[in-house]
């Protein structure tokens, strides 16, 4: 309807423009081609006007930008100021920002603050910046050539901020996981201690009975002079009962051992005990456990249980590395040099690839399907707490070797165990 009305209003003008030869008194008598001609003319005229506006705007913008880039701020301000509406709207972030800069330069502080604030508003509306709102202060966006530089700067800042946030998050996650692992370890120990108590009590009873029976048997034999063979048998029962008792005692000592205490520890004794625990278990995996103990019987000021745990950790790693390998061997060596003493745990497995060696001791580094990646990290922490170092080296001819090193105990009265 409105279109028809418009046509009606513009009718006479259109007709005269077209220079139509005939005038018709009534609308519907105008021939169709004249109407079409009129409409086409109208659209063309409108388009021309619109394009001219756009062109003028573009040229004007270019000119103003040129003036701005030449730092002729006064003129630029004048142009901006009087052309803001309608040619430059405040929606145009770049213009808005430049205008703010110009005002800033010309000392129109209030006005510049206004435009900067507006710019900020436009930036936040248009770009979905995740980063901290602190990033978007007026101060932080001042002093750039144009809005592109501002946005670029903000993007960089945002990326940086995201990276730090991610880093912090990861660090806190790691910390949490480490704490969790520590807690689990403590829990396990507590449980082990509890178990050991029960196991000890349950086993100690039969062991006690065995001992008493064997001793009674021996006494009977003494009285009546039975054949020597029976004596041997009872003696063997007694010896085995003693051995059982020792195993339980070691197990229990380990479970409830005080890991904070520092005492003089003989490295050979630690290795021997670990060998006692594990040689059978390793043999079940077709792995031979060999120990080479230093004749000097090296001592350090440390904690027996912690050292044991470190060795157990390394042994269990070696065991995993040697799974299904023919002639698998683990060799634990204690050694003493002029200033240092230490323990080496070596295996003849495939060794550790170079790219993994760097992050070997960092937490959550694992190549095992079910590993926590905390074993070596724990070992390193434990050794550091005992003021020692642990490092990896290649074993010759093949395999991995972990070297645990301590400064030698200098105190004179070292007990020989």
């Amino acid at each position: 309807m409105s279109l028809l009305l418009l046509l009606g209003v513009l009718l006479s003008g259109g007709v005269s423009l077209a220079g139509a030869s005939k005038l018709y008194p009534v609308l519907f008598l105008i021939p169709l081609k004249d109407i079409l001609f009129f409409v086409v003319m109208l659209i063309t005229t409108m388009l021309t006007i619109y394009v001219s506006f756009v062109l003028i705007r573009l040229i004007f913008e270019r000119a103003v930008n040129f003036i701005y880039s030449r730092k002729i701020y006064k003129l630029a301000y004048w142009l901006y100021y009087y052309s803001k509406y309608p040619i430059f709207s405040e929606r145009d972030i770049d213009s808005c920002y430049k205008l703010a800069n110009i005002c800033q330069f010309l000392g129109k502080i209030e006005e510049s603050e206004k435009y900067y604030t507006k710019t900020l508003e436009l930036i936040t509306n248009k770009y979905n910046l995740i980063s901290n709102i602190n990033l978007l202060s007026i101060e932080s966006i001042k002093g750039f050539e144009d809005i592109d530089s501002v946005l670029e700067y903000l993007k960089v800042r945002e990326a940086e901020e995201l990276a730090t946030l991610e880093k912090e998050l990861k660090a806190s996650q790691n910390r949490e996981a480490e704490q969790r692992a520590d807690l689990e370890h403590a829990k396990k120990l507590e449980y082990l201690n509890y178990m050991a108590g029960g196991v000890a009590h349950n086993i100690n009873n039969p062991v006690g009975i065995l001992r008493l029976a064997a001793q009674r048997g021996l006494r009977e034999l003494e009285k009546e002079l039975y054949p020597k063979k029976a004596q041997e048998i009872f003696q063997r029962i007694l010896t085995q009962a003693d051995r059982l008792h020792n195993i339980i005692q070691n197990f229990r000592d380990y479970a409830k051992g005080d890991r904070e205490k520092r005492e003089t520890v003989a490295l050979n004794a630690v290795v021997e005990q670990v060998q006692d625990y594990f040689s059978n278990q390793l043999a079940a995996h077709q792995i031979e456990l060999i120990t080479e103990l230093a004749a000097e019987n090296p001592h350090i000021e440390a904690n027996h249980f912690v050292l044991q745990e470190v060795l157990i950790n390394l042994l269990s790693n070696a065991r995993d590395a040697l799974e299904n390998q023919p002639n698998a061997q683990i060799i634990i060596t204690t050694w003493q040099q002029t200033e240092k003493v230490g323990i080496n745990v070596a295996d003849n497995g495939a060794g550790i690839p170079l790219e993994q060696q760097k992050s070997l001791f960092s937490p959550f580094h694992t190549t095992k399907a079910h590993g926590t990646g905390l074993g070596l990290n724990f070992a390193q922490k434990a050794v550091h707490e005992l003021h020692g170092t642990i490092r990896y080296q290649e074993n010759s001819p093949q395999g991995a070797c972990f070297v645990i090193e301590f400064l030698q105990n200098t105190s004179d009265n070292i007990p020989i165990s």
Partner: protein, 143 residues
């Protein structure tokens, strides 16, 4: 030398342990009675006189420690030797310090027959001498 055979009470919930101890001590000429747990043990101590009681710590119904504290509180004239599994070594040491009746403790899993016999006999003798002292004191008073 003793005037009468010494009486020993063995309190342990483990049958094998009880039997072995009984055989061992009877063989040495001691009169041995057995109790399954703290309650039974305490009952027997109240009803008849024992020179020494060999008491296990972990038992059902009434633990050795509870029983010993009763013995101490009721001033029953019996010396106690504690037997422990490895787990309650500290309890044994603690009891030895705090309870007057407790005179010694042994670890079950490293129990040495000779030492145990020696210790039981010596305690029983000690108590008997005290008994004799008291007896004499009674006589002198009566006079």
């Amino acid at each position: 030398m003793s005037l009468r055979p010494y009486h020993v009470l063995i309190v342990d919930d483990e049958e094998g342990m009880r039997e072995e101890l009984r055989e061992l001590l009877t063989d040495e000429g001691l009169v041995v009675e057995l109790a399954n747990d703290g309650i039974e043990g305490l009952e027997k101590l109240r009803n008849s006189h024992f020179d020494v009681a060999v008491v296990d710590l972990r038992m059902p119904r009434m633990t050795g420690l509870e029983m010993i504290s009763h013995v101490d509180a009721e001033e029953i004239d019996t010396y106690v030797i504690i037997l422990t599994g490895h787990g309650d070594k500290n309890d044994a040491v603690q009891a030895l310090k705090l309870q007057e009746t407790v005179k010694d403790w042994f670890e079950k899993s490293s129990l040495d027959a000779k030492t145990l016999i020696k210790r039981v006999k010596r305690l029983a003798e000690g108590l008997s001498f005290e008994e004799i002292d008291r007896l004499f004191a009674g006589i002198t008073k009566a006079e």
